[in-house]
Each structure stands twice: as structure tokens, then as C-alpha cells.
Amino acid sequence: MTGTHRRPEVASARLLLSFLMAGVLSLSAALPAGARGTGLIFVTNEKSNTISVLDSSDRVVATMETCARPRGIHFNSDRTQFFVGCADDSVVAVYDIATKALVRRYRDIEEPETFDLHPDGRHLYISNEEEAEASVLDLETGEIVAGYDTGEEPEGVLFTADGGLVFVASEAANIVHVIDTVAGEIIKDILVDTRPRRFALTPDEKQLWVSAELAGIVNIIDVASLELIDDIVFLPTGMRKEEVTPVDLLITRDGRRAYVALGRANHVAVVDVAARKVERYILVGKRAWGLALTADERRLYVANGLSDDLSIIDTERLQVLKSVPVGQVPYGILIDDR
């Protein structure tokens, strides 16, 4: 599998550009105020080894071939490039957003699944799914500069804003590892519920939310004490506990609302963060995992792994506006609109 993309896509990118230029006036009313970036949306397709590219009108404008089993996707610090982790090739690939060209490949990164970028912009903390390790990639030198032993199948990785702590979820061990990045140590292994997947921090960084996929809940950890303080249980009407498998979750910038993708329950839960109560369940596609919000937080994008599409939700009316077919088993979503 190569990381280069085909020539026709260069043409389609150009076409897209001219389309965008022409559409700027008519679209500008619809675009969020102060939005920058290209407005493009990138979706990793785990099984077709591609990245679907959508424009701001939610049309698929390009399909980039990438490395094998692409999953985690993340911006670089100035949002001009993005990283894609390809587990089957043990590669982290870097693409330029403006040109959609492959910029660099970091090879021999053991089965990278997801990652988060240290606020210094230089160190990528990667969960190495098969190696039971969280490794630290120096993006300048391309060297792995540190590694931490985690439980099997490390998954979600999340930094605090100052980069002092990074949390890594171990799916198979039911543990959240807390790494002190300054001391370079795992300072705590927090036992959580079955199959922890992803994280969200409240904006004040007082609470860490962790989805526990096979328990059908979100665990809430108090960041100061690193203790579990509460759970939120999800159960859309008519479903059984075992059908509810939360994975990705997001908390809005004002810290008032959270969105949780409920996996096999085919719903996204809308949660009142302060009350820790589910306000609404929104029906989406099959096995909803990945989530992304636009910069203005008016649209929520949901990757449906088993129906090979995205559901796009209006977050004011809490309704699905439309669904857009992408590649096979869409996983991660990146929106370049700020």
C-alpha cells in the first residue's frame, strides 16, 4: 500500500477549488462566522484503506488512497497538516491539507491506533494497539523517544491543555493510565468499567469522561484525585444494556453539553454535562463510533462503521440532516474549518 495518491485526485482537487471559489459568495451565508481553513472534512476508512474528503456542503469530493487500516486522524499544531495512523502498515502518515499530498511517513510505529499531540506540537503520543504500549514520537527527528507499558489494546489518548498529563485507555485491561509527561511516569492505573475507549475533558479540566464500551456507560473521573466519581448510563428506549456500546465522546466548548456515540445502539446520546443526564437519543447509522463537531458546534458528524456512512446532525434541532456514504468502515473524522 502506498501513501501517494492518484493523479485524478489532483484534478479533482483543482475542480473543487474552483467550485469553492465560485461558491464562496452563495455559501458565505451558511458558513460559520470567522471560519477559516478549507472547510474540508477528512474521514479515515479503516477497511478500504482510504480517506474520504468532503467539502463544506458535505459532498465527497475526493478519495485519497492511504496506508493500510487507517484509523486515528489528528491535525498538526498549526493545522496545515494532519496525521493518520495505519495499524496494518505500522505507519503514521502526514498529509498536507492544502495540497492533500503525502508529506512524510513515520515507519515502524507498532500498530498505531489513535494518538494525541502534545501542546508543544512536537511529540505525538501514540497508542500501539498490539504492543501494549503508549509511545512518544518526536515529529522532528522521527524517533520514538519514550514508551510506557499499558494494558493490552491501548486506545484513547488525551492530553490536558498544558500537556502535563496524558490519559491512555487500555481497552482490554479496563484501565485508564495516567502519565505525568514531565516526570515521564505512569502515576496511576485507574480501574474503570469494561472496555474503556475514548476520553473527553470538561473545559475546566476538572472531570475526565471515559466511555466504557461493554458496560454501556461513561465513567467520570475526578482529575484532581484521579478517582471515579460517577457514571452515566445509556439506554435508548427499547434497547437492552448489551446493545449499547459507547465509544467516541465530545464535550462542547462551553462545557454544557456532551455527545456520546453509542456504537451498536445506532444512536448518539446528547448529555447535559452539569446534570449528568441524557437529554436525547438521536438515531444515526450502524455502529456509530467517531464524532467531530464543526468550529461553530452547529453540526455534529458521526462515523457509522457498519453502514459505511456519516450522519450529519443539526445540533440545535438535534436532528439528522442527512447521511453521506463514504468508504468501508469509516473511523475518524477531521474538520478543517477553523
Binding site: E130, G151, S170, N174, I190, T194, L214
Partner: protein, 414 residues
């Protein structure tokens, strides 16, 4: 391993051993107790014929059964960091019985020597049955990771005997649900001469009855070229029956069965021991984290994980989970914070256990027969075609209990 820990797991009647324990506790310095570990035991039999490669004509090896051991090893490796959260180290003691050794005696001896109370038994059926009966009143947790026989979960059940491999009834129910779902309701059974063939044919007939499938005919077959018994060895003649949708093949040996698909008189699919097979696990299963487990296993063992290795893995995971989730009683000391066999049994059979089995639905043990509730995979040689319980088969409490023996019909009495 601390001396106290060892003593807590003793067999009750072993007075001499208690004295040894007391002495050891007195002699061992307190610092030893800091490095706490928890030992599980894998017990197999040397030169077990089940694991000799089954050679077919011209030296082909069609079935090469591997021991469940590698599954236990992978499970143990996964426990490493889980133990770290508790300041505990899990260990796997691997033991093979010599020809003269009795399994029940060996369990008692190993328990006395290592303090272990959890045993994964990879023993021939008769030996497993005898050992479980002999140890029924003693405080061990024995895992059957190898045999699907329903009687082990029924008349021969024991309070300490847990099963992580699905029962024959579960596996055949899974297949029957699928056939019902496809509306392939008329079945021709081809049954071989082995005891195992009769066993699975019987289990399938029970499942067919449960889910409303019709058995059109049961035809015995023989592995032979004798023209005098063509009605029993010629596949076209054997399958010359009116009105079947599917052939259910009961051929545990496999030499006859491998020629059945595509040779039937009518163009009909084959299920059972060829074609579509129901099992605890398959190496091509790609959902619910399975690729990671399969890759971990292959990296370690260099072959594909099968149902019995998965069962051993699941047994280790269940015990590790029980220990991690155990809440020590108030006032527990570091030496008494780990659950004893009784507490382990209670936790394992409670509804507090929520095991990640990599097959979607969380697993737990049925309190009435100690069978691990689990999804069953229906696979061909290179793909998992369906996952049972099949959509639409519902149960009043847990859909997994549509597979196998439910509480009301269980013959197990403790």
C-alpha cells in the same frame, strides 16, 4: 507468594499441610509478603492422544489440534498491567500429568504446593469427569476448556466446575437459529460411526426440535468403498432424499465429510462439521476487538486461535476480572484482600461480572450450570458468516440464554 496466601487456599482436611503453613508463616520474613502474586494452574496430560496430528491417507494432516495452553498464556500476558493496578502479579503454573498420575490427586498436590485454587483442566473426557466428581466437595475452581459435552453441564455438574467452552447444545442451537432464520427448515442428517458423531447429531436434533426445524431423515454413513454397502458410502445415494434444504453432517473424524460439499445429489449447502460450522471462536472474526486478540495470539503461538484456546483465554480473563473487581471486606489486611475460592465462585456466578469476550455481548456465567454465556460464531473455512443469537431470537432476561440449556430445563443440581 506469601505463606498466608498459600494457607488460605488449602484443602480443608489436610492437617499436615496446615502445620507446614503455620511453620512457613512463622519463618518467612514480612518483606516477602509485599511481592504478592496470584497463581493459576494449567493441567494437561502428557502424550494426550487428542493432540497427535490426525494423519490422513498420503500423509496429509487434515486436523492438527493444539492444546488450549497458548490461549491461557495469552490471557496471562494480558493480566500483567491489570495486576499492576492492584500491586499484584498473576502467574500461570503449567503442569503435565505423567501416565501414572491421577488428576484429582495432582490438583490437591499442586494446590498444596503453590497455593493455587484455580485450575484450567485440559484432560480427556473421562479423566475430567472423574476429577470433577472427586473434587466436588473441595474448594477449587476448575475450568473445563476442552469439552462441549452437555452431560458435564447436566448430570455430572459440580459447584466448582466452570465451562468456558460452549456446550454442544449452545453450538447446535446457534446453527439451528441460523437455519430457521434463513428459512431452511428441512434437514437431512448424515451421521458417522464415531461416538462423537452420535453426540453432535443428538445435540443437533434437540436444537432442531427447540427451534422448529424438521429432520427429513437421518442417514448413517460408513467410510468405505465396499459396493455392497453403497447406500452408506456413496454420497449421491446417501443424499437421494426428497425435500431437504440443508445437509447436517456429523463427522468428527472428517475423512468422509470433507468430500460431502458439492457432491450431494441436490444442490444444497452442508453445515455441521463441514461447510458452515458453529464454534466459540474463529481466526477470521473481525468485530468487537477480535482482530487484536487474533493478532496477539498469532504473534505468540504462530498459528490461528481456535475455540479451545479461546476458552482457556476466557477462563484466565474471568479469574483476573474477578480478582480485580473483588472488594475486600472491611478491615482486610494485605494478606486477606484477595478473594478465596468461595468468594471467587460467588463473584463468577453473580450478575456483577461483565466479561469482554471479544464477541460483542458481555459474558457471564449461568449460575445453574456454571456455563459461560457467550455469542457463538458461525463460520466457513475463511469467514464468519453470522453471530448467534441471531437477530429476532429473544429471551426474557438475556438473549444469550436462547443458546443452550436454560435454568428451567437444566439437569444440574448442586
Amino acid at each position: 507468594m506469601t505463606a498466608d496466601l498459600r494457607c488460605r487456599f488449602r484443602a480443608p482436611a489436610r492437617v499436615a499441610f496446615i502445620i507446614v503453613c503455620a511453620l512457613a508463616a512463622a519463618i518467612l520474613p514480612a518483606t516477602v509478603r509485599a511481592a504478592e502474586s496470584y497463581t493459576l494452574v494449567y493441567l494437561g496430560r502428557e502424550a494426550d492422544r487428542a493432540y497427535e496430528p490426525a494423519k490422513a491417507y498420503t500423509g496429509l494432516i487434515l486436523r492438527d489440534r493444539k492444546r488450549p495452553l497458548d490461549g491461557a498464556r495469552v490471557g496471562l500476558r494480558e493480566s500483567r498491567v491489570m495486576g499492576r493496578a492492584l500491586g499484584l502479579k498473576f502467574a500461570l503454573e503449567e503442569r503435565m500429568l505423567t501416565p501414572s498420575q491421577d488428576a484429582a490427586d495432582a490438583v490437591r498436590e499442586i494446590a498444596a504446593a503453590t497455593g493455587a485454587s484455580v485450575f484450567l483442566l485440559d484432560l480427556p473426557l473421562e479423566e475430567l469427569t472423574a476429577a470433577a466428581a472427586a473434587l466436588a466437595a473441595e474448594p477449587y475452581i476448575l475450568f473445563n476448556v476442552r469439552h462441549g459435552d452437555d452431560f458435564l453441564r447436566g448430570a455430572a455438574c459440580a459447584p466448582g466446575l466452570f465451562h468456558t467452552l460452549p456446550s454442544d447444545a449452545m453450538v447446535m442451537d446457534a446453527l439451528a437459529q441460523y437455519l430457521k432464520h434463513k428459512n431452511w427448515g428441512n434437514i437431512l442428517i448424515l451421521q458417522g460411526e464415531e461416538a462423537g458423531d452420535a453426540r453432535i447429531a443428538k445435540a443437533f436434533q434437540a436444537s432442531a426440535k427447540k427451534f422448529g426445524l424438521k429432520i427429513v431423515a437421518v442417514r448413517p454413513f460408513k467410510l468405505s468403498n465396499d459396493p455392497r454397502i453403497r447406500d452408506q458410502n456413496n454420497i449421491r445415494l446417501l443424499t437421494a432424499v426428497r425435500g431437504y434444504d440443508v445437509v447436517f453432517l456429523a463427522d468428527t473424524h472428517g475423512e468422509f465429510g470433507r468430500y460431502v460439499p458439492f457432491q450431494t445429489l441436490l444442490p444444497r449447502p452442508v453445515v455441521g462439521t463441514e461447510g458452515l460450522i458453529a464454534d466459540a471462536w474463529h481466526w477470521t472474526w473481525e468485530r468487537h476487538g477480535a482482530p487484536q486478540l487474533n493478532q496477539r495470539f498469532r504473534k505468540r503461538a504462530d498459528y490461528h486461535m481456535t475455540g479451545t484456546q479461546w476458552a482457556a483465554w476466557a477462563a484466565v480473563r474471568a479469574v483476573v476480572e474477578a480478582i480485580l473487581r473483588h472488594e475486600p471486606a472491611d478491615g482486610a489486611t494485605p494478606d486477606t484482600r484477595l478473594p478465596d475460592a468461595k468468594a471467587l465462585r460467588t463473584f463468577l456466578t453473580s450478575d456483577r461480572i461483565n466479561l469482554d469476550l471479544y464477541k460483542g455481548n458481555p459474558g457471564s456465567f449461568r449460575p445453574w450450570d456454571r456455563q459461560l454465556r457467550q455469542t457463538i460464531l458461525l463460520h466457513t473455512h475463511n469467514a464468519v458468516v453470522a453471530r448467534a443469537p441471531i437477530e429476532g431470537f429473544l429471551h426474557q432476561t438475556n438473549n444469550l440464554d436462547t443458546l443452550g440449556t436454560d435454568q428451567a430445563t437444566s439437569a444440574c443440581r448442586y
